[in-house]
C-alpha cells in the first residue's frame, strides 16, 4: 500500500462534507446552525485551496487539474471502460473539486452578504445564494456517483482510501 491522501486533505474532506450537508439541511430551519456551518465551509474552502498549493504531492492542484479537453477525453475513456488508474485525482475528479470549491466560495460569500446591512433582503444576493447552494448539492450527488463508478471500474475501495489515505501500489 502507498500513501496517497495526506492527513490534512482527509480531515478537510470529511469535515467539509459534514459541514456542507449540515448547512444545506439546516437552511431556513435552524438559522444559527446554518450560519455556523456556512462559516465553517468558508474557512475549509480557504484551507483546501491553500493546501492545493503547499500540500503534499497528491493534494496539489498542479498535479491533477487539467484543461477541459483533457477532462472530456478522460470521460470518453471512462465511457469506453478504459479508466486507467490514477493514484491521486483523475482529471474528472480534479475538475469536480475545482468547480465544487468555486461554487462553495460563491455560496458562502453570498450567504454572509445576506446578513450585512447593505445586502439584507436584496433579491439578487438571495438568488445567487440559493442557486449556487442547490448547484453544490447536485454536484455532490454527481461526485458520489462518480466515486462509486470509479470504485467499480478500478476494483478498489476509494472511500476507505479517503479514510486511511492508502491505496494499492501501481502495477509495475
Amino acid at each position: 500500500m502507498v500513501d496517497v491522501w495526506d492527513v490534512p486533505l482527509r480531515v478537510l474532506h470529511w469535515i467539509l462534507a459534514a459541514a456542507v450537508l449540515i448547512a444545506y439541511f439546516s437552511a431556513n430551519v435552524f438559522d444559527t446552525l446554518h450560519e455556523i456551518a456556512g462559516y465553517t465551509v468558508m474557512a475549509l474552502v480557504v484551507l483546501r485551496v491553500a493546501w492545493g498549493f503547499v500540500g503534499t504531492r497528491y493534494s496539489q492542484f498542479r498535479n491533477s487539474v487539467r484543461p477541459p479537453r483533457v477532462v472530456l477525453r478522460f470521460l470518453g475513456q471512462i465511457a469506453r471502460g478504459e479508466p486507467g488508474r490514477y493514484l491521486g485525482l483523475n482529471p474528472a475528479g480534479a475538475a469536480m473539486a475545482i468547480v465544487l470549491l468555486a461554487l462553495l466560495a460563491v455560496s458562502t460569500i453570498s450567504g454572509w452578504m445576506q446578513i450585512t446591512e447593505r445586502f439584507f433582503g436584496v433579491d439578487w444576493v438571495e438568488m445567487v445564494h440559493t442557486v449556487s447552494s442547490n448547484a453544490v448539492m447536485i454536484l455532490v450527488a454527481v461526485h458520489i456517483l462518480g466515486v462509486v463508478v470509479m470504485c467499480v471500474m478500478q476494483k478498489e475501495n476509494l472511500i476507505r482510501a479517503m479514510l486511511t489515505g492508502k491505496k494499492r501500489q501501481r502495477a509495475e
Binding site: V29, F30, D31, T32, I115, E117, F120
Partner: protein, 93 residues
C-alpha cells in the same frame, strides 16, 4: 455488526432531522385562513414601515408574511398574520 452500528447511527441522524423542524426557529404558522381571504402583502410591509422599520422585501413563509426590516442598523425578520396583520414573531438576525 459494525455495519449495523453504522446504519443505526445514520438512521438516528436522519430521524433527528425528521422531528427537528418541531424545534426549529423557522416561523411558519400565522393563520388558518384560506389564502384567497388574505390581506395583501403590501399591508404587512406598511405595518412594518409604520413601526419604524426600513422595509427591504417581503415574502410568503408558510402561512405568514415575512418582512425583511432594518431598524437602528440592525436586521430583523418580522412575521405578520395575513388575516389581521398582527405581528406574530420577530427574529433579530
Amino acid at each position: 455488526m459494525k455495519s449495523l452500528m453504522k446504519a443505526s447511527v445514520v438512521g438516528m441522524v436522519f430521524a433527528a432531522f425528521g422531528f427537528a423542524p418541531a424545534l426549529a426557529d423557522g416561523f411558519k404558522n400565522c393563520t388558518k385562513l384560506a389564502k384567497a381571504s388574505w390581506k395583501p402583502a403590501s399591508e404587512a410591509e406598511a405595518a412594518a414601515k409604520a413601526a419604524g422599520y426600513e422595509v427591504r422585501k417581503s415574502k410568503v413563509e408558510g402561512s405568514c408574511y415575512e418582512v425583511y426590516g432594518v431598524k437602528g442598523g440592525k436586521l430583523f425578520e418580522l412575521f405578520y398574520s395575513p388575516e389581521d396583520l398582527s405581528l406574530k414573531h420577530t427574529k433579530a438576525k
